[in-house]
């Protein structure tokens, strides 16, 4: 499983980076300070197929705002909570779908409806899980993949 988690981690790194670049015009880099993990919200989605588990995308408030602004071309004062939620859900949906396609495109995976939370849940990792943290001009994003 350890070998598999390495593969999962690398594929997730590529997947989230590509989703953020293409859809939100944000370039994710490794965090260069100790502030990794200061997140304000998260969206999550479950997947089921040749493997089963959950993907959680963690966002700081300013990252979520930048995603909405960039994706929809909105001014800051036009950003409403509903847009933030919608964008965060779409982000985890794309990240998970793209990751699973990279992981094994020959298998069909079923995705649940994405769930949004205005706070971040437990960040302790189970054994078969990995977490990646990113920074984009001081804005924070992270992702957790947990395999059942």
């Amino acid at each position: 499983m350890k070998e598999n988690m390495k593969k999962i981690e690398e594929m997730m790194r590529l997947s989230i980076s590509e989703v953020f670049e293409k859809m939100f015009f944000l370039f994710l880099e490794p965090p260069d300070d100790d502030e990794a993990g200061t997140y304000d919200m998260e969206s999550s989605i479950r997947f089921d197929g040749s493997m089963r588990g959950e993907v959680r995308v963690l966002l700081s408030r300013d990252m979520a705002k930048a995603m909405v602004q960039n994706m929809l071309g909105l001014e800051e004062d036009k950003i409403i909570p509903q847009r933030v939620e919608d964008c965060a859900k779409e982000a985890v949906n794309m990240v998970c779908g793209y990751f699973l396609g990279r992981f094994d495109s020959t298998r069909v995976f079923t995705l649940s409806a994405p769930v949004f939370r205005e706070q971040v849940g437990d960040l302790d990792l189970a054994e078969d899980a990995c977490r990646l943290d990113f920074d984009s001009d001081g804005r924070k994003a992270g992702v957790i993949v947990a395999v059942d």
């Binding site: 590509e18 989703v19 670049e21 293409k22 859809m23 909405v68 994706m71 929809l72 071309g73 509903q82 847009r83 919608d86 964008c87 859900k89 779409e90 949906n93 794309m94 998970c96 779908g97 793209y98 699973l100 396609g101 495109s105 020959t106 298998r107 069909v108 995976f109 995705l111 409806a113």
Partner: protein, 143 residues
């Protein structure tokens, strides 16, 4: 020549993005109708004629595959070209979608150019917005 487009996606943001890409791609859109799932799409199609449908797959109530099946069963709707934009990327699902008659499949995340290119191929419109009589002219799709 202007077009009516139906965008089917349960995400408001994604519908807005697709609508924006279509409008900045040089298409003359007459009407852009939005639906949050397959059921809403069928209701919209009962009242409006559209030239192309751009649909997601994973949606509540009625998903994209069910919508494609329903379109295929309807003699008035079966010839409307459908483009799928989805996070679904398994080879099986892409094959299933083409078997159900879709004209284009775009995987999320996507670049605006990918949407634009497939729309031009499917609708057959030149950069100037004129209808392309000769669908065999590959250069018509270059941009």
């Amino acid at each position: 020549m202007s077009f009516n487009v139906l965008i089917v996606d349960d995400s408001n943001s994604m519908r807005a993005v697709v609508k924006k890409i279509i409008s900045i791609s040089g298409f003359k859109m007459d009407q852009c109708i939005e639906a949050g799932n397959g059921n809403e799409a069928l209701k919209a199609l009962a009242e409006n004629w559209v030239d192309v449908i751009v649909s997601d797959i994973n949606m509540p109530e009625m998903n994209g595959f069910e919508l494609l099946q329903r379109l295929r069963e309807d003699e008035f709707l079966r010839n409307i070209p459908v483009i799928i934009i989805s996070t679904e990327s398994s080879e099986q699902h892409v094959r299933d979608a083409f078997d159900l008659g879709v004209k284009g499949f775009i995987k999320k995340p996507f670049l605006p150019e990918e949407v634009r290119k497939i729309l031009y191929e499917v609708i057959g419109v030149s950069d100037e917005g004129e209808y392309e009589e000769d669908r065999g002219d590959d250069e018509a799709f270059d941009f």
